[in-house]
Amino acid sequence: MSVGKKTPIQPALHKVIMVGSGGVGKSALTLQFMYDEFVEDYEPTKADSYRKKVVLDGEEVQIDILDTAGQEDYAAIRDNYFRSGEGFLCVFSITDDESFQATQEFREQILRVKNDDHIPFLLVGNKADLADKRRVTFEDAKQRSDQWNVPYVETSAKTRANVDKAFFDLARKISSRKYRSEAQEESSPKKSSCCIIL
């Protein structure tokens, strides 16, 4: 009856940030992933936060999702949000070429803030169910992702196609990167010297 105060060891926490132009479906992807729910009506996001426990490759982890605003009005405060991210889902709509072009700016802003070329990053082409309205070809998107040296995945928040895959792939990347950096720290305890060399 007595409530145990001891909390079990919290599973690893991976912080994912959704970026992309307004209306490409960042929130839709997030809500589909979180609650298996597709929101029809559009309401611009300011900044939303979600957290979910999932089993990733047999290990329980928590995925923390920060769903950011796509509208340019909020561009100024993005830097702050990006700093806390460990991985990024850069979303555009395959029916909107402008949103695809905007990914370039988001990519640059992230690299500038994180100062890290190998930050876990996925290029996501959403609204794959609307094939007849496609404006961005798979090849163009693929070419861009190859150029950035990141994976490309096409999703549909409406049909849930590839939704889990996008989040899990990113979480996996974050996880393996954390593991690697931990190993590095262990192998080279003198961190300061390491930094000097770099």
Binding site: M1, Y35, D48
Partner: protein, 819 residues
């Protein structure tokens, strides 16, 4: 609980008070009414909450500032948790905030123009309506308001009431848990579902414990009253004995959960202590009154307590009685056991069944197992608890000591008056039960040992056990001593002859058997300690005592032997010994003569010393008794038997020789015989000599039948006395005629010839003295003496043969010649 609400999503993550917030998660309830609370950053936002689905609630943020959890409370799942946080922002007003006031100068000028227009209109108005124009307006407005109020008063009033009712219904619905709680609590208490009650109470307390609302307060206080009742019920049950440890523990935990003031576990310990104490004393008192009643009854009946027991007890050893007890069925045992043995059995049961629970409870108490995690163990009660345990064990030990071994109670202590309340009882009524008593206490002790008690508590029982064992040891031996002392009554005088060791009756073997039996019993039940009991043998004093006890037991039989023969004027019992033995055996066999009884006892004594004692020594050492002490006591007892043997020997000799000696003089002078007036030449050895020889041979025959080994020393002594008497008689003769002298020479020579084999130097000297007192013989006379002797030898050959059997004597001719 799987139904606890979890908030996993928040949109947006920050905002000023009043921001519309979408909350997503799980188990957020199934309708608006399921929502009992919604707290964002510590501020209740339930008022604006709008339930959308089990996964979604929309609300407006409250005035909370800074980052904080979003907590949803539902009827089904209670208070929930959140994995995401909301950040309440402060509403900032300032020049940086966008505002229309700072638009442009144009609009300002426009306002100035407007103000000017206003002034013109205002001045014309003053001229038209006077300075107090606003007052008129105000009045008009008030009037309008009053009219409006009148119109709507009724409607508004009804609306208020409707709202109130709706509110009340809502409250009732939402908090029906609390309103039903008093009834439910009552019902559950009656059903005994204390866990449910405690759970509900904890929930009510967390929800309404510090409520300010009167209605809630009222119901909550009713619940409190019910809980108080439950506390009282449980407290009563807790101290009601007997009960089980598990049940007590459960009640104690429940009481703690109910936040009962005081220390229920400690109260329970105290109650248990008092209960056991009560059981012990009650058992003692009931047994004591039974015994006292029996005692009075016995006293009224025949004034000798238990005559059948004591009379029969003389013929059975405690070991035999013990065996009989062990063979008897439980019913017989219950009926025949002395009350105090039953008492000890009872006490042992009481302690073994109740004490471990109390100890375990105290362990649990001091281990903190019973207390809620918030309370801390009161270690200051440790000594008090220990005192209670020591008191219990002390009372237990005191009662037993009082009943069985009152001599071990400290005569100056307070205990003696408290426990030494038992009437004196003959030792032999209790003694056979002592091993049984020991077994009970020992099993109790083992039970206590398993509990891992503090050392001084264990020591109370340990010393009790030790004292009991010592008492048992001495009692068993003492009883055996008493028994052996009275063994003489069982002598049947049937002799079995052993060529080497002489004859014996069954008494020595009975004695040996009894001693071994007793030693065996003592060893099995007393000497060999149980678990964590020192062996008594390791104790130097006890070891010495054992030596003494063994000695006493062995010597006791000598007492019996002594009683058989030597009449002791101090002991009146001896007088009727022969009668009793005759009756008890139920035989018509005539008792042997007193002299033969002497002889048999003498032989028994010797047999005891030479055969039984060494064998007994070996048996005792083999049984594990300390060798040095056994050997010492055997040697000491052997000495006692030696002395007894000598005494008996002398007594027997005296008994036998006195008539023979007395006869010599009478027989010598039979018919006015005068050594000085013998006329005819003697042709024969005189008859008094033959009589002497006949008498000696009779004794010889008597001894041979019992103990041939005794003959040399016995006959030798007899010959010495005969020689002495002969020397006295001959030297006293005043004159010898010639023939008289010859006759005397012949007589002396005949005695010499016959008893030659048993002639000691002393006897030889006596005979020499007698011969020298006689006149010398002529050679003719010597010849005739030889003739007479030869014919004597021929005639008496068969009689004399009995004196020769030790050394086959050469030829009679040669012997005569040598004399």
């Amino acid at each position: 609980m799987s139904l606890a609400p979890v908030v996993t999503g928040i949109s947006p993550i920050e905002g000023v008070p009043g921001t519309k917030v979408t909350i997503r998660g799980e188990n957020l309830g199934f309708c608006q009414d399921d929502l009992m609370g919604l707290i964002i950053c510590g501020v209740d936002c339930l008022m604006s909450a709008e339930w959308k689905s089990n996964n979604k609630i929309v609300t407006r943020s409250g005035g909370g500032i800074g980052k904080g959890d979003i907590i949803v409370v539902t009827i089904q799942g209670g208070r929930g948790t959140s994995t995401v946080q909301f950040k309440g922002l402060q509403e900032a007003m300032g020049p940086l905030k966008e505002s229309a006031v700072w638009a442009n100068v144009g609009s300002v000028l426009e306002q100035v123009d407007t103000l000017y227009d206003l002034k013109c209109v205002f001045e014309s108005d003053i001229q038209e309506y006077g300075r107090q124009s606003t007052e008129v307006l105000q009045k008009a407005i008030y009037k309008c308001k009053e009219e409006a109020d009148k119109l709507f008063e009724d409607v508004l009033h009804r609306k208020d009431r409707a709202d109130g009712t709706r509110n009340a219904i809502n409250v009732l619905k939402r908090f029906r848990f609390l309103f039903y709680l008093p009834v439910n609590t009552e019902r559950n208490i009656q059903k005994g579902d204390y866990d449910v009650v405690i759970n509900d109470y904890a929930r009510a307390k967390s929800l309404f414990g510090d409520t300010q609302i009167q209605l809630f307060k009222k119901f909550y206080s009713e619940v409190e009253k019910k809980i108080e009742d439950l506390r009282n019920i449980l407290s009563e049950q807790l101290i009601k004995m007997p009960t089980t440890l598990e049940y007590q523990k459960k009640i104690i935990r429940n009481l703690y959960h109910l936040e009962t003031p005081g220390d229920p576990a400690w109260q329970c310990l105290g109650a248990q202590h008092a209960y056991i104490l009560h059981l012990l004393m009650e058992s003692r008192d009931s047994h004591l009154s039974r015994e006292l009643a029996d005692h009075d009854l016995g006293a009224n009946k025949g004034s000798t307590p238990g005559p059948p027991v004591s009379s029969s007890s003389r013929n059975t050893t405690p070991a035999a009685k013990y065996n009989k007890i062990m063979m008897s069925s439980v019913g017989e045992w219950q009926a025949s056991a002395p009350v105090r043995v039953l008492l000890i059995e009872d006490l042992g049961d009481i302690l073994s069944t109740n004490f471990p629970d109390m100890w375990k409870l105290s362990q649990a108490y001091f281990g903190g197992e019973l207390l809620p995690s918030s309370a801390h163990v009161d270690h200051f009660k440790h000594p008090e608890c220990k005192e209670m345990i020591l008191e219990l064990l002390g009372v237990f030990s005191g009662i037993i000591r009082g009943a069985i071994i009152p001599q071990t109670l400290n005569p100056h202590g307070a205990y003696i008056r408290k426990y030494h309340v038992w009437p004196e009882v003959p030792l032999d009524q209790i003694t056979p039960w002592l091993p049984q008593v020991l077994r009970h206490i020992r099993s109790c002790y083992n039970t206590l040992l398993m509990l891992d008690l503090p050392k001084d508590a264990v020591d109370v029982i340990k010393t009790l056990l030790f004292d009991l064992r010592v008492h048992c040891l001495t009692s068993l031996f003492q009883q055996t001593v008493d028994h052996l002392c009275s063994l003489h009554s069982r002598e049947d005088w049937r002799v079995e002859v052993d060529d080497e060791q002489g004859g014996y009756t069954h008494l020595p073997q009975i004695c040996e058997g009894d001693i071994i039996e007793c030693a065996q019993l003592v060893k099995e039940t007393v000497l060999e300690g149980g678990r964590r009991e020192p062996s008594l043998l390791d104790h130097p004093n006890i070891s010495k005592d054992i030596g003494t006890l063994i000695h006493n037991v062995i010597v006791a039989f000598a007492q019996a032997l002594r009683k058989l023969t030597l009449k002791d004027p101090d002991d009146p019992e001896v007088e009727d010994v022969p009668d009793r033995s005759n009756q008890e055996n139920g035989t018509t066999v005539a008792l042997p003569s007193v002299e033969v009884q002497f002889l048999i006892t003498l032989s028994n004594c010797a047999y005891m010393r030479r055969v039984i004692l060494p064998r007994l020594g070996e048996s005792l050492v083999r049984a594990g008794y300390p060798k040095a002490e056994v050997i010492e006591s055997i040697e000491k007892s052997s000495q006692t038997y030696n002395e007894l043997q000598e005494t008996l020997f002398d007594a027997y000799l005296e008994e036998r020789i006195d008539p023979i000696i007395g006869m010599i003089e009478r027989s010598m002078y039979l018919g006015q015989y005068d050594w000085g007036k013998v006329r005819h030449t003697p042709t024969e050895v005189r008859s008094y000599v033959k009589e002497i020889l006949l008498n000696v041979s009779q004794v010889h025959a008597e001894v041979v039948a019992v103990w041939p080994g005794l003959i040399p020393s016995l006959i030798e002594r007899m010959v010495e006395v005969i020689g002495e008497e002969m020397a006295r008689l001959i030297t006293c003769v005043s004159s010898f005629s010639q023939n008289g002298a010859l006759q005397a020479h012949i007589d002396l020579a005949a005695l010499n010839l016959a008893l030659n084999n048993y002639m000691s130097p002393t006897a030889q000297a006596s005979f020499q003295e007698a011969a020298e007192a006689l006149p010398k013989l002529t050679s003719e006379a010597k010849r005739s003496k030889e003739n007479v002797l030869r014919s004597f030898h021929n005639k008496m050959k068969f009689l004399l043969a009995c004196f020769l059997d030790l050394n086959p004597v050469p030829n009679g001719e040669q012997m005569i010649a040598s004399i």
